[in-house]
Point group: D2
Chain length 306, copies 4
């Protein structure tokens, strides 16, 4: 459970006094504001601020299409039309700002999504907390034997224990040394100069937790979620993406439903894939050899279509 | 005056019913929301939505600098420190969405600022209104004789009248033809096919008005304002920038004051410029020849320093 | 034909003297460098510079995946894998710089793709040429009656002639007035002040030609081509996209083939679409009513799948 | 020395066979291509590819300003004019691709510059090498007592030794455990499942080396260098920035000279700073109290102006 009493008090205070606004308001998001969703063993996600709602997407689209959009009967239909036809700019009109606490190795994947604004806790300026991600036993997975970047079954028995012992001991020792190097005195009280924070941090492993404010628009958030809420994403970032899916569903329910239908639950076919499906629909039994696909492509194709 | 009774009614409705929110609220911005600021003869700017306030900038900075920022005594000092040291990410945590109506030739300059989200009225999809920018007489300027991209004195007398007559007549004729080409019948009622809107629009001149929703963060907005609220910017975009300066001053007064001091009112010196000033401070009389600057640089340098 | 003898001489000179380089070289692109491909009546596209080739994509991917990529037997297979799995960063390692001459209304669509570098001819600084896009008769299309942003059949007979007459006459008159307003003398030789270029340009219609240098990476170029080489794109921008497809095919033949298979020729299915196809494959006759799709979605679905 | 014989052989091969090209060629850059510049104890920077040269900047500017640029007599003057007036787009027409090997904590600062393309070695996919940054004794600095994010004097004697011992021992142990957790057998040969690479990497500290291909345009590179070649930047990233300065000087000597004069060696003044200098030039003795600046601002101002 990642929240201290101080943090909970801060959240309560932030939620105590609603103020009037003339902006678009999403009731689903107001219910979430400032609350923390726990993720992994010490991580969290919480909404700090947002801009826009489903109606704001529609409003922006109607600016673009002008009188022409009168034909589309309702907001849901228009939002689905925009999603289906890759009209991304109306979705960019919504924005969200999140507070995220996450292990450094997850942060390194996350930051590769460049179209976002970030303020990260600076270990050059301040001292990191003693918090490290230690996987739950069921997530302590072996290397996949078929996929270079995947996991196989969970480690068993003694091996699992050995790994957990290593991760815990190395994290503890690294943090002890981090503190000792920066301290104004040695353990016995002898004064020392104390290593610069910007150097001492290099001793901390990638499972140490960092935190940041992360702000992005809904279009780019959907792009992030499509890649990171995917079963092929690493578990430790996927759980953050899944928590964000819950948030977005409450924020812009129509847009999220369209995203689920057209992106998360949909499928992309190559020209060859279209051809094979058409032959199958016409009653032909197509094999990998006659498909024109490589073995890898065929395996992935069969994964969806049988 | 660019607002129709329908538009004013829409604004009144949007402002009629405040709703409670748990987000950061800027009172200065609430007072501006939805109201239209007239710009040029038919243009406008109005705030549709915003995210964050001065306190949100400070909050983001404190996430980055952690406990280290406790030393800075107050919000104003911290915001000035961030601006002075080009720490741009906390300013990116504020966002604004504007509705802008502007001539196409201004829109073409504006869109060159790429870090923004835009939904523009589509002349492919819908029909543009009969509204054209005709400069006020005092803005009908001659080509500058010293600056390839600048204006000289206002045209006088008959010449000014000739130009206004041309602009008005050509705009009117272009729009008449635009309508006539798309119409389902000829002037005498004979049916015709009607040219596609996406083609007919090519007959409209660059002073026709378009409109868009434009959304950007405060850091990028400051960058825009530094270039476009500058005396060297073309008058027709500068008036939009100046209207936005008013908006930003009400939205984030501390950040705007820092921007005014460090960017709008400040000066950038080259290494040579620093050297010349130091020599002058030491009592030396420096000339263009002894400055190491070209004539153009020296003229600009003297423009600031005498 | 858009090239003057001076321009052709410039191209010949640029191609006259090959120089040795240690960089990646694409023979297909060397053959294209500096040559102009005519587009529309006065437009053109030509390659000014490029960085990288198919091998550079592979090289970047192998940096990312390290020893793990040894399993993939060849470059073509790896490039197809990257494209299939939306691994976009290796494609970003190739860059191209184009010189494009295009009508302003096409430029206005084009510039909406923000991830590119642009240097456009400045009508604030210099005087535009007297060149206007006048559609060929077969492109002079009526407004579509089923699609708000589409074209129907070509205009016929007298109506086509009327439209061409309007476009030609209005362009000519607009340019005559543009020149007259800026001129140092009136037609009869009487001196006048001359309107500033930055103002005179507002009289020019959107079919006037402009030109720019446009530079982007291969990933973003593919995104542009997917949207603009699509049959739903407006004809006047699609012809530029098609010319660029030819260029890219010669530049990076493996990447282009993967792009054609997975993007241009492929299909995207919603979750509902996947479900309908699976039911069909299982022998069921699915109707719009039983599909769960709206009429619009069903029409588009049948457009691909019958 | 970071290069293995295999790597050196690869470089030699890449440099062995120049090929003819019709593109812009920078001789200074050709001399650098593929060669590695050593940085820190195991890091490196090398140029993999580039696009454009000083003449390409000029060419792009002349497209923008058209006939108007004829007045500017030479390339150097035009490039200085562009830099002085923040006309950034012509500099965006040059592009460079670098291979960089760097410690993870440096990579985490570096990646905050978002306008670049990156392919990083994937520790999810492959196994990192046993290479860790251990500071040279003179870089083992104490925390600054006046600056929260700075360094003071180098640690002395036994304290320096203790810190080096910790960093070395923790790195070695972390890597031993990293390997042991992934291994197919325990130390005594007993088979085990082997932890997934994407998990094992979390045990590695931030001084482990990673590597990437990094590609950016010259304008954004200058922005990076202005911030990271600055004395306030952390030493470990500054040495990379300084190596890049050498590269850019050879690549585009005129642009680099303008950058040095107007950015690296220049100074930015606030409105208050301009006012103080003008008062001083007029003979007045201005103090912090009469300057209107805070103590911090005044200290920085005096740092430049005495």
């Amino acid at each position: 459970m990642p929240l201290t009493p101080e943090q909970q008090a801060e959240i309560n205070e932030a939620r105590a006094t609603p103020r009037p606004t003339l902006r678009a308001v999403s009731e689903g998001m107001e219910a979430r504001l400032h609350h923390a969703i726990p993720v992994l063993d010490h991580g969290l996600i919480r909404v700090i601020d947002y801009m826009g709602d489903d109606a704001a997407i529609v409003q922006a689209a109607r600016v673009s299409y002008g009188r022409g959009t009168k034909a589309v009967s309702n907001d849901e239909g228009l939002i689905r039309y925009l999603m289906r036809h890759w009209h991304s700019t109306p979705f960019e009109m919504c924005e969200v700002k999140l507070h995220v606490k996450l292990p450094v190795f997850v942060a390194r994947q996350w930051i590769r999504h460049r179209t976002a604004n970030v303020n990260e806790y600076s270990a050059r300026y301040s001292i990191l907390d003693r918090e490290f991600y230690i996987p739950a036993p069921e997530q302590l997975a072996a290397q996949s034997t078929v996929n270079n970047q995947g996991r196989g079954a969970a480690l068993e028995g003694e091996e699992a224990q050995r790994v957990l012992d290593i991760l815990r001991a190395d994290s503890t020792r690294a943090y002890d040394h981090y503190e000792a190097m920066m301290a104004p005195t040695q353990a016995d009280g002898t004064p020392q100069q104390g290593l610069a924070r910007e150097l001492a941090r290099m001793n901390l492993p990638a499972n140490v937790y960092t935190q940041w404010y992360w702000k992005t628009d809904l279009h780019n958030l959907f792009h992030f979620l499509r890649l990171r809420a995917d079963p092929h994403a690493q578990y430790e970032i996927r759980v953050y993406a899944e928590a964000m899916c819950q948030i977005v569903r409450d924020w812009v329910p129509l847009a999220y439903a369209a995203f689920e239908d057209y992106r998360l639950g949909g499928a992309v076919l190559s020209a060859k894939g279209v051809e094979v499906l058409k032959r199958r629909l016409a009653g032909e039994a197509v094999t990998q050899e006659s498909s024109g696909m490589s073995k890898g492509e065929w395996r992935e194709f069969e994964g969806v279509w049988g």
